[in-house]
């Protein structure tokens, strides 16, 4: 057992966990942040993606201890009160989700993609970059549309800030 201190969605958190605890289990089981999902046991599906210090990471592939001292953002931490993050809004408006299970991971990956490419995203790049996220429901058509739409919205909202 170790005591781990980190920041999750802007709040300082301290938790006692077994050394083998994965970050995703710390989030889901200890912190009750169940928006981060588990879809596989081989780090293939991306349902568990969160941001660690601003970068998209599969939280099933990181020990909770490795995240000590870092800044973790989950799907629960990206909207501003009632106002959805532009990526969340774009997924809703473009029907980029069906069962919703892959959605938190998709959204967290997609935000990172937009951050990395800025406004220079095209369909091919989005499809290639989403390689680490599996969705069984949507056929990706509307997910790609959502990410491209959000890329535009995020540019606008950044410009406005």
């Amino acid at each position: 057992m170790s005591t781990i201190k980190l920041t999750v969605n802007g709040k300082a958190v301290s938790a006692d966990v077994e050394d083998r605890t994965l970050l995703v289990h710390l989030l889901r089981e200890t912190l009750n942040l169940t928006g981060t999902h588990v879809g596989c046991d081989t780090s293939q599906c991306g349902a568990c993606v969160v941001h660690i210090d601003g970068k998209a990471v599969k939280s099933c592939t990181v020990l909770a201890g490795q995240a000590a001292g870092s800044n973790v953002t989950t799907i629960e931490g990206i909207s501003k009160g009632d106002e959805l993050h532009p990526m969340q809004a774009a997924f809703r408006d473009n029907h980029g989700l069906q069962c919703g299970y892959c959605t938190p991971g998709m959204i967290m990956s997609a935000i990172d993609i937009v951050h990395r490419y800025g406004g220079k995203l095209d369909e091919e790049t989005v499809r290639h970059e989403l390689e680490g996220n599996i969705c069984r429901c949507t056929g990706y058509h509307n997910i790609v549309k959502s990410v491209l739409d959000a890329a535009g919205r995020m540019k606008v909202s950044q410009a406005a800030e």
Binding site: L33, T34, R92, H95, T103, C135, T138, G139, N142
Partner: protein
């Protein structure tokens, strides 16, 4: 239509919770005092269980108990059953082998559970499972259809000699013989429909709680049909009587058929929760999903089609072998029979059809309905056969199809189905136009000049949905009726709750069903709450599969609405001192026609509940229920065309274009409908190019993780061009047909037809991986 009524692409009500991480899936739920289950599963495909030693495990930290298959048998928990009786050609009933929830004596597939560890934490349960020693004596294995039916093959079940479950036939054998006798041309094709794993992204999970004082169980489970789960758990598995068992299916992360069935894990969780006196949670991991979720497809078939000298079809003869795995899953028997062979007429006028289907046991995971269930297999066979015929007869594939289209409705096929309506030419035309079919030869020539092989493939599918008229399916062996129920509660303040027996696990019912109410009553969808997935709340239901939720469940809602409206009009008329016949409903107001007198819905509702001034003899309240049993199946149909390019150097297939024209009848929310098509297309394309569940000769699964089983990813797929060519279904008041499975049913043939067109010959099986395509080109 109103802005949120029928035909409006309104954004989904459910998406706020899903996009903010506030969905509530089974694994998100924690109960007070909850324990965790971990199953001990057989590493062998066929073996005798000689002994289970749990003494060391029992001493491990946190262990609450280790329970075995013998205990569940001793406690008289029922065996798992298949609920659809199929009769063989010779009149004998299907041969169902016994399937206990955990194996006491014999395991018949890798992953079958023999025992379960219950512990305080998941990790403790897993650790203790490592310490349980199970002794097996291995038995010889049959891992595929061909080895199952070889003379002298090892036997799986004493009940099923020769591993044959049934040998069934449909159609008129002698009429087909006559047709082939008259034929100018006969086209023959042998093909395999590859085994698939559904892989909903949320793994199955269950939480069971037993309350001793009430002798009452609650089960939270990942189910597409919680009421059916309760019925089966109660009536067949002796877990608890229905009034002592509540089944809740909260948010469910995709199903695709795999969450229809009642699996051993839910049964064990319920049984164990009483045994250990604590709530028990089990959440499957992905490997367990590969090993234990019912798989799909797995057919081998031989098909022959007879044509006259004008290229009109005279007859079709099909012989199919289907692998049902080691045990008969809940609806497995119906999939390769009544959901498959009844669709072999496709969109075509075929005067005579005869199909024989033999199903077999193998030492593999049980196989049952997966998105489309039998209909993708039928569509793939018919559409590859049509393409093969066109090439052999040297005619354009689209025109050969058009020449043989059914154009008069209703149309009775030789294999039970009575198609009610359709316009197959319209969807073919729309797709050909969308892909510029006429311009293809020029594009092919250009690609050739660049060293690439281009192909175009057509697939005209039809499916039977809106499952199903209870009397009809009952006469065919179904153990249940397939109606749906709905209840509408108009609350005293005018908000509305709709309780439905359908279950949404991605389909967006919370939005689409609310649109039906908005259309009728003019209320905003924010005033409407759809309640589903809880047997304590919803009176009954048959659940969601077979693209039935709108055609059957939606119609039940309309029927209940009609009753609500009739009563509300009486109240309004009474309040307004007008005749009931003069009341019309517009934008949430009950108006007296030709006057300016009106009363708003909330006032009518309030009057219904205050009951101060109701018509004489009227009961208070404004709440109605309806059960709806359809009179026929619905028949969604359409044409998919895809254009691909193969790189002969690598065998890799890339999409140039994929177009779809579907006839789903009336669309309630076109945005949601198109999403359903996209997802279905991805699964059909996945089958055609990527997905394959493989076992080795020892019955060991080779593809039991996402590392080995290729799921379609974003860069494997194109964007799709969709269009709609609706004819309104005459069988239900909404005119709807269902859209959930079409994409998966129609797309795989289009892809393979395109690739075989590109490579110039027909010897190619799914999945058409680069390796297979390269060998198909280069030998």
């Amino acid at each position: 239509m109103g802005v949120e009524g029928i035909g409006a692409s309104v954004v989904r009500k459910e998406d706020r919770r899903f996009t903010t991480g506030k969905g509530r899936y089974v694994d998100d739920i924690k109960l007070q005092g909850m324990t965790h289950a971990h199953f001990i599963r057989s590493p062998h495909a066929h073996a005798k269980v000689k002994g289970i030693d749990s003494s060391a495990a029992m001493k491990m930290p946190g262990v609450v108990g280790v329970l075995t298959g013998q205990q569940i048998v001793d406690d008289k928990v029922g065996n798992l059953i298949c609920g659809w009786a199929i009769t063989s050609k010779d009149g004998s009933p299907m041969k169902m082998g016994a399937w206990p929830a955990m194996a006491p004596e014999t395991v018949r597939f890798v992953g079958q559970a023999v025992a379960v560890v219950i512990a305080e934490t998941k990790n403790q349960a897993k650790d203790a499972a490592e310490a349980v020693v199970v002794t097996y004596e291995e038995l010889p294995v049959v891992a595929d259809i061909r080895s199952a039916i070889k003379p002298g093959a090892p036997q799986l079940h004493p009940e099923a000699p020769g591993n044959v479950i049934y040998d069934w036939a449909i159609g008129d054998e002698s009429a087909v013989k006559d047709a082939f006798g008259k034929a100018a041309n006969v086209v023959t094709l042998e093909l395999t429909n590859n085994r698939l794993v559904p892989n909903a992204m949320e793994p199955r999970a269950a939480i069971a709680e037993y309350e001793e004082a009430e002798e009452h169980y609650t089960l939270y489970t990942t189910s597409q049909n919680p009421h059916v789960a309760r019925l089966v758990l109660s009536a067949f598995y002796n877990i608890a009587p229905e009034h002592k068992l509540r089944v809740i299916a909260p948010d469910v992360g995709g199903g695709f058929g795999s969450k229809i069935y009642i699996y051993p894990e839910e049964m064990v969780a319920l049984w164990a929760s009483k045994k250990v006196g604590r709530p028990v949670k089990w959440t499957g991991d992905r490997t367990e999903a590969f090993l234990t979720d019912a798989h799909g497809r797995d057919h081998i078939s031989k098909a022959e089609m007879a044509f006259d000298k004008d290229n009109k079809i005279l007859g079709l003869r099909v012989k199919t072998h289907a692998n049902l795995g080691a045990y008969m899953s809940l609806f497995s028997s119906s999939v390769p029979t009544y959901l498959y062979a009844t669709l072999l007429s496709g969109q075509y006028n075929i005067p005579a059809i005869y199909a024989e289907v033999m199903t077999v046991y193998t030492n593999t995971t049980p196989v049952d309905a997966y998105r489309g269930a039998g209909r993708p297999e039928a569509s793939y066979l018919v559409e590859r056969l049509m393409e093969t015929a066109a090439r052999q007869l040297k005619v354009d594939p689209a025109e050969l199809r058009r020449k043989n289209f059914i154009t008069q409705f209703p149309h009775q096929t030789p294999v039970i189905m009575a198609y009610d309506i359709g316009d197959f030419g319209a969807s073919l035309d729309a797709s050909m136009k969308a892909i510029d079919y006429a311009g293809f030869p020029a594009r092919k020539a250009k690609a050739k000049a660049e060293g690439k092989l281009r192909g175009i493939g057509v697939s005209c599918y039809i499916e039977a949905c809106g499952i199903a008229p209870s009397k009809a399916v009952g006469s065919l062996g179904a153990g249940v009726g397939l109606w749906e129920s709905a209840e509408i509660r108009v609350n005293p303040v005018g908000t509305i709750e709709v309780l439905t027996g359908s279950h949404s696990h991605g389909q967006g019912h919370e939005t689409t069903f609310a649109q039906l109410i908005s259309e009728r009553l003019g209320v905003p969808i924010s005033q409407v709450q759809i309640v589903h997935g809880d047997t304590d709340k919803v009176q009954f239901g048959m659940g969601t599969y077979g693209s039935r939720s709108l055609a059957v469940g939606g119609t039940a809602i309309i029927k209940a609405m009609e009753k609500v409206e009739a009563k509300a009009k009486k109240i309004a008329a009474h309040q307004l001192e007008a005749s009931e016949n003069d009341i019309v409903i517009e934008n949430g107001e009950f108006k007296v026609t030709g006057t300016d007198k009106s009363i708003a819905l909330p006032m009518v509702a309030l009057a219904a509940y205050t009951a101060h001034n109701l018509p004489d003899g009227m009961e208070p309240g404004l709440k109605e229920t309806a059960f709806y049993d359809p009179t026929n199946f619905t028949f969604p149909a359409g044409t998919y065309i895809c254009e691909i390019e193969v790189d002969p150097a690598t065998g890799k297939t890339s999409f140039v274009d994929f177009v779809a024209a579907d006839d789903f009848g009336r669309l309630i929310n076109p945005m949601i409908v198109e999403g359903q098509v996209h997802g279905g297309l991805a699964q059909g394309i996945g089958q055609a190019l990527l997905e394959h569940a493989i076992y080795d000769a020892n019955g060991q699964p080779i593809t039991a993780s996402f590392m080995d089983y290729t799921m379609p990813r974003a860069d494997d797929l194109p964007s799709f061009k969709l269009s709609h060519t609706p004819t309104l279904c005459p069988g239900n008041p909404l005119g709807v047909k269902g859209c959930g499975e079409a994409g998966a049913i129609g797309s795989s043939a289009a892809v393979i037809n395109a690739i075989t067109d590109a490579i110039g010959h027909n010897k190619l099986e799914m999945p058409a991986t680069p390796d297979r395509v390269w060998h198909a080109i280069h030998g």
